[in-house]
């Protein structure tokens, strides 16, 4: 397919990695922000191509992963109600709450439907005027315009049987939370390409300046990611820390203004709890007061649900780049995609689920063992 195939060329990938080897003089820890990037990196083995000492840690940019358990339990409580058609993107359906997942609710007779676009909910609402249509509006800035359009059209068309259960999160406050932590290891970021396609990248300029950290807004194909890594290493080696745009075929500094405008009319910034990380001030969206009749949290009286996450799960540290899936004693044993214990295993874009799906079951032996095959000269001697 055009604009996909050319960014998957193995020969060019080799050239980019050779350039990294040429310029790199010391170890660097980079974080890719987006779950989609994590998936692409693990699927294509890009982290194993990198020169020894260039480490990728996996960021919090998987909205399914960071949706708090309380919100999932709320969704399930609403989906179980008679007279409700509960609509969701497909990847939320198998995320377990305290008591089963949306598939279980569906198999027990609940009306749970997967939608391709939030606008599908309008069609369902028109066809079912006697039912309440509730949409699970999750996502980062990329998805906010689509979800905002559903709320906007529902209000414009006075469709009182359409509501949204909103659990929206924002990337910049999460980056600040990671950088402000005393445990932080991240020295440079691959920024979220599609979030910035909507929002532009102005918001990242003050973060890069304040924390003196390079942020390279990066795409999702293998060559995009390798080039993003190269551009970040170039900055670090030259002792620069600015925002750069690898993904210039898709975005500019300004982003999509009509989308930002409607998002601003429908949503307002609010505090949000992130699964595995905790509360981050001003890190999400909620519906504005004018949309109260379409706000599922206000319409449905769902009691606050107390939830308990398994103590063994280290997903919070994984989401902040402090640990890797292999560091968890439950990874691949007690915790797997069929029985996830925490945030990073619940969605295919979570770091743990990606490691599991692509056969990264064993921890590399020795510090740089993953590089032994590719670069025997620099390997530090593991036992494998």
């Amino acid at each position: 397919m055009k604009y996909l195939d050319e960014y998957r060329d193995g020969d060019v990938a080799t050239k980019i990695v050779a350039e990294m080897r040429r310029i790199q003089t010391q170890p660097w820890v980079l974080m890719e922000v987006c779950g989609g990037q994590t998936h692409s990196i693990v699927k294509n083995g890009l982290d194993q191509l990198l020169p020894p000492g260039v480490e990728l840690v996996h960021g919090p940019g998987c909205p399914v992963c960071v949706t708090p358990l309380e919100m999932i339990d709320k969704a399930h409580a609403i989906a179980r109600l008679p007279g409700v058609i509960f609509c969701s993107f497909g990847d939320m359906l198998r995320v377990p709450g305290s008591d089963g997942d949306l598939f279980t609710i569906k198999s027990n007779g609940g009306d749970v439907r997967i939608v391709y676009s939030p606008l599908d909910c309008l069609k369902i609402a028109r066809a079912n005027p006697d039912k309440q249509i509730v949409f699970f509006a999750i996502g980062f800035e990329t998805t906010a315009p689509a979800n905002a359009m559903l709320a906007w059209r529902a209000r414009e068309e006075n469709m009182t049987n359409v509501s949204l259960l909103v659990s929206h999160v924002l990337v910049p406050p999460a980056l600040e939370a990671i950088l402000a932590s005393p445990e932080n290891r991240v020295q440079g970021f691959l920024g979220p390409g599609h979030v910035c396609a909507v929002m532009g990248y102005s918001e990242y300029l003050p973060i890069s300046a304040r924390y003196k950290v390079p942020i390279v807004i990066t795409g999702f194909e293998p060559l995009d990611i390798l080039q993003g890594v190269l551009m970040t290493i170039q900055q670090l080696e030259e002792n620069r820390a600015v925002v750069e745009n690898q993904y210039s075929r898709v975005l500019d500094q300004v982003g999509n203004l009509p989308a930002q405008k409607l998002v601003g009319k429908v949503f307002e910034v609010s505090d949000r709890k992130w699964r595995g990380i905790g509360n981050i001030p001003r890190s999400g969206y909620r519906l504005r007061e004018e949309f109260a009749v379409h706000d599922a949290e206000k319409i449905f009286d769902v009691a606050e649900i107390a939830t308990l996450e398994p103590a063994i799960c280290i997903s919070g540290e994984i989401l902040r780049g402090i640990k890797k899936p292999h560091d968890c004693p439950a990874f691949g044993t007690l915790c797997n995609p069929q029985h996830p214990l925490g945030a990073t295993m619940v969605s295919a874009e979570g770091a743990c689920a990606a490691y599991y799906a692509y056969g990264r079951h064993l921890k590399p032996q020795g510090k740089d063992a993953q590089h032994q095959i590719a670069d025997p000269v620099h390997a530090t001697g593991g036992s494998a």
Partner: protein, 110 residues
Amino acid sequence: MCLAIPGKVVETYDQGGLRMAKVQFGGITREACLEYLPDTQTGEYVLVHVGFAITKVDEVEAERTYQALMELDQLNELESPVVEELDEIEAAKQATTSRFIKARNGHEIS
């Protein structure tokens, strides 16, 4: 979740007050909302996320990025030529060429 796929706009139309398009992804055609890219024309490439076109793909920038990547190793070769290896490659090429010429001229390949 933030997956967005590039596709070619093949038709634009109005549906219930919303500007919509048929977008082709390889062999598959799906509907996408164009409200956030109102000036999109047929034939242009857009990135589609959950049924919404969120941005256009800039053909010139796509080409520029790709060319820059293709040219990466030319810089390397200028700075660090590995002479022995180059000689070996050149010798191998010449051997192959002469074998090819012999074969073409009806000589036996030993």
